[in-house]
Symmetry: C2
Subunit: 334 residues, 2 copies
Amino acid sequence: MFMREKARRSLMLPVLLFLCLAPFAHAQTDPLPSWNNTGPKQAIMNFVQSVTRQGSHDFVPAVQRIAAFDNDGTLWVEQPMYVQLAFVIDRVHQLAPKHPAWKTTQPFKGVLEGDAKAVAATGEKGLMQLMAATHTGMTVDAFQKTLSGWLATAQHPRFKRPYTQCVYQPMLELLAYLRAHGFKTYIVSGGGVEFMRPWTEQVYGIPPEQVVGSSVKTKFEIVNGKPQLMRLPDIDFIDDKEGKPVGINQYIGRRPIAAFGNSDGDQQMLEWTTAGPGPHFALLVHHTDAAREYAYDRQSSMGRLDKALDEAHAKGWIVVDMKNDWKTIFPPQH
Amino acid sequence: MFMREKARRSLMLPVLLFLCLAPFAHAQTDPLPSWNNTGPKQAIMNFVQSVTRQGSHDFVPAVQRIAAFDNDGTLWVEQPMYVQLAFVIDRVHQLAPKHPAWKTTQPFKGVLEGDAKAVAATGEKGLMQLMAATHTGMTVDAFQKTLSGWLATAQHPRFKRPYTQCVYQPMLELLAYLRAHGFKTYIVSGGGVEFMRPWTEQVYGIPPEQVVGSSVKTKFEIVNGKPQLMRLPDIDFIDDKEGKPVGINQYIGRRPIAAFGNSDGDQQMLEWTTAGPGPHFALLVHHTDAAREYAYDRQSSMGRLDKALDEAHAKGWIVVDMKNDWKTIFPPQH
């Protein structure tokens, strides 16, 4: 008996040690390994610790830990053009054989000939025609299938990898870190809500019901006894600039306590978030890394960062200097 | 040593027994005690067991377990009038001193004089005027405060309890039962989304971000340096009938696998839910209990149940006979 008891004790000791030390070991694992130990990382971790520590003056109950992320330029690459625009161009090419008139009609002619100036000259009306032709007139299910097929084969022109792998590794870590601390992570993007929902769960761990975006109107109808939702060529909602707080209120119904963006399109979302009564956090990704990604801000036509950068400096919002604050940009390719 | 070992064993036996038997004890606790052991209860439990049992042919991963509940007449009382309409009437009375013209102008005159016919004669335009006067022209925050204040004092005229206690105990148990089995429970109601969000978490355990409803447009603006969201007198979305599948797609972006309603306003939501490719469940609450609640269906102006009842019979949707299937109607008053 004595020997068995001793044997048991000798087994139990390491187990007990492990149980006692595990929390410390866990705490020492860096949750944000792709972030350099510069200001933004420290600010993020300080904020998360302060709102999650029981008894802390800044403690926020888990149900109120809403974090809102812009998508284009904040979670994935938006240069040389928004991914949704690349989809539009590819779809116009794919659909052109069925629409012979497009060869001679703007804005389609311009898209087919790669004449960006001619397309731009058609203005908002032309953009709406392109959206209608590529995003509407089919069921919600059919659009999702088309989109998923395109994403499976399309590649970023510079990085030669699928767009869904042109996502920022430091932001993936940040999303996971926040969720591990009870945050509910949302996308709040100017991009089309149904352009994102089919893949955000797999890529970001953000389920479709936590994606807020721009939308077209849809119509419920029964065709051959089968209910379906048709996508109509009418804009329902633009989730950009002043639209972002509106979209947040409409979809989420709570004010986020943390918001992450990268452009003037995110300015109002950050203003709305930081005007809340409790603790809050606002961060802008500043694209400063032409070597590893892109460098752009005040003059860019996609993802312009100008007024929001001034406001960030004035109000002490955290600004990530991509070149200096991020160790790596993209996840390992798979 | 022997004695210590024996003592340890004698301690361990009950512990082991408890661990082995706990699941059975748990299984024997009735999760739906306010439901009689009639068809609907059995159908609910069979469905939940089939979609949650690992290895079952009908197994549905937790992330896809979306359950959508109508509110008026499904989760709380909608007779003698929708609660939101009672709010409108009370607010018109409260605001009348500031609007002397209302005494002589329809539909306000009708409301102030309790002349339902005169109000009805003003039609949809009149209803919109009442909505605008009582629901818009203030910030989202201000509306929530007004609403919460009203709910704290207003009482149901027959049951003499706050409206938020005129909720159906069997449905509260059903919500909890579904959530305990990994379901995400949503409200999908024709009622105003901001009329529900301030209290659904406390009353139903449904957080604001899981409430889909009708809405007015809102506008982001900065007043005296402070960002605010103003409620505008324009309808944004009507989440009723054909609007319910549209709202589900817009807000949730996934098709529910279970839907619960009580009126023709829910018909399309149940059609959309049951047209999904996997297992699905549809249930209508039929108000058959004039003694304990109300009895109404095909002729009612509020919560009419006519076409949806025919479709339920034709398609085998579960129909709850409130009088016979529910043991109790309301939770104990507190």
